[in-house]
């Protein structure tokens, strides 16, 4: 029979292990959440909240299993809660579709570092104009319409620049990951 405190994990050791695992898997977890919220700010918030929840439950984590899979189990529930609480969603999905999306996103989470590395390499080929558009769109949070006004261009012209970036990055990423292109 073990003593009552024998199996208790030391707080400091637990902290270290948790922090390490969280940092290693942060991008994968974030990618999963973002895939289902399609809202960057909400994803940031959920990621932070998730970290707190994971810490509280960390005693129950089975170290023989991948941390990312364990974390995504909680993330999935949190995203569902979040989606239920939203008055309006970018794309409404019923539970079945959401479940399928979540399964596919969870599978990707385990290859997140490869995806990230591929995108980093692909982004090296962006032109100055493309970078300018990306800075305006994602750093400043400016809409296509506002960028067009600021640049004195048509909305369609700006849209085409951003569209082209998405297309070329998607194509490049799939090539680097040696995936079959979506045709």
């Amino acid at each position: 029979m073990s003593l009552p405190n024998q199996d208790k994990t030391d707080d400091s050791a637990k902290e270290l292990e948790f922090t390490k695992l969280l940092l290693e898997n942060e991008r994968a977890i974030f990618g999963f959440i973002y895939s289902l919220t399609q809202d960057f700010n909400a994803s940031e918030e959920l990621r932070q909240e998730l970290a707190s929840r994971l810490w509280v439950k960390f005693d129950h984590f089975d170290g023989s299993r991948p941390f990312v899979a364990w974390a995504i189990g909680f993330a999935r529930l949190m995203v569902l809660e979040w989606r239920r609480a939203q008055a309006k969603l970018p794309i409404p999905m019923d539970d079945e579709v959401l479940g399928k999306m979540a399964d596919a996103a969870a599978e990707r989470a385990e290859n997140r570092s490869d995806i990230q590395a591929a995108l980093h390499e692909c982004a090296q080929d962006l032109t100055d104009l493309q970078k300018k558009a990306l800075h305006a769109r994602y750093f400043d949070g400016t809409s296509v319409k506002e960028i067009a006004q600021a640049w004195d261009r048509t909305q369609m012209a700006v849209y085409k620049v951003l569209n082209r970036i998405h297309e070329s990055l998607a194509e490049c990423m799939r090539a680097k990951l040696k995936l079959v292109p979506h045709r």
Binding site: Q38, L119, F139, H182
Partner: protein, 329 residues
């Protein structure tokens, strides 16, 4: 998968989709695994672009982009209080001009290099001679130990006043409503006084530490610049932008269990001056996170003698240089 599907997804992600497009996306998500994969590809790209843009990767002139963070402060204006939705009404008042300044704040590169530069900026600001006043609260913490004569202090709304690197003063309301406990360090002596009672004085800066807010988490204001320097060595540092306030946010997570200190620091700071607007110190105790939070509320100069005990009681009040055992409650 055809080009129309690809364009449909991109229109949707760029918020350029009409209601009909959205209906099509919903329908295709239901019917096609390939469409779901394609959408996930582009969501990965969106997440990547957001993160990279926030890191300044697409800035036209990267040097100029980061210059603002690293340039010495030229500001001497009154502080712009931290604005976060839930604290806005209760903690600070801010002007429309301040809001405009905050909206214009630059984003920061989360790479370790820039996080380190940002931290250095914050350290420099903490070492500057100016006066700063913070509101302090402790959440999810254990009750504070009772004060002199068994009276406790409230957990909320303690005020911390700082001057340079070695003077501080803390005011805390007594729970019995009889006044305040004021504790301080004038650079040479620490002291504490509760209500109308005796003033206790000691030579050690942290003699009365146990009575201060957040003693169970950490008391970062006792030597803020040292605490911040420690982050460089012993913590993983990252830099991000807080979406609510628009302020740069430094996050520090302890590297090893062998290191003493809280698990995590979150530091929101002014990108121009480097002055900390909000500091969260997190330390889980027995599995429960405890958080000490400091919010900047004022930056006006305080009276020259503000940090000495004599400025906070009438001249005839008894002053005791008693033993630490008796001073510590």
């Amino acid at each position: 998968m055809n080009d129309q599907d690809r364009e449909l997804i991109i229109r949707h992600l760029l918020e350029n989709a009409c209601e009909e497009d959205k209906a099509k996306v919903s329908e295709k998500l239901k019917d096609s695994a390939e469409f779901r994969e394609l959408l996930l590809d582009h969501l990965d790209i969106e997440a990547f672009l957001h993160s990279e843009a926030k890191a300044g990767s697409f800035a036209e002139d990267q040097e100029a982009f980061f210059h603002r963070l690293e340039a010495p402060s030229k500001k001497t204006a009154k502080v712009i209080p931290f604005t976060r939705r839930t604290w806005f009404r209760t903690v600070v008042t801010t002007s429309a001009a301040a809001a405009c300044v905050m909206l214009g704040l630059v984003l920061l590169n989360p790479s370790p290099l820039n996080a380190a530069s940002a931290l250095q900026r914050v350290i420099d600001a903490a070492m500057a001679a100016g006066d700063r006043t913070y509101l302090v609260s402790v959440t999810r913490g254990a009750p504070q130990p009772p004060g002199p004569r068994g009276r406790g202090v409230t957990q909320e709304k303690a005020q911390v006043y700082l001057r340079g690197t070695n003077q501080w003063l803390v005011t805390q309301d007594l729970t019995d409503g009889s006044g305040q406990r004021i504790s301080g360090f004038d650079g040479e002596q620490s002291w504490t006084v509760s209500g109308n009672n005796t003033v206790y004085v000691a030579d050690s800066a942290d003699q009365f530490r146990r009575n201060l807010p957040g003693a169970s988490v950490d008391v970062p204001f006792l030597n803020l610049h040292e605490q911040l320097r420690d982050l460089r060595e012993n913590y993983h540092i990252s830099l991000d932008k807080d979406k609510d306030s628009g302020l740069p946010l430094l996050r520090a997570i302890k590297k090893s269990r062998d290191i003493n200190g809280p698990r995590e620091f979150l530091i929101w700071f002014d990108p121009d001056s480097g002055i900390i607007r909000r500091l969260d110190v997190r330390r889980p105790v027995s599995g429960t996170p405890r958080i000490l939070r400091m919010d900047l509320v004022e930056q006006s100069p305080l009276p020259a003698d503000f940090f000495s005990h004599a400025a906070h009681h009438e001249p005839e009040r008894p002053v005791s240089h008693d033993s630490p055992q008796r001073n510590r409650r």
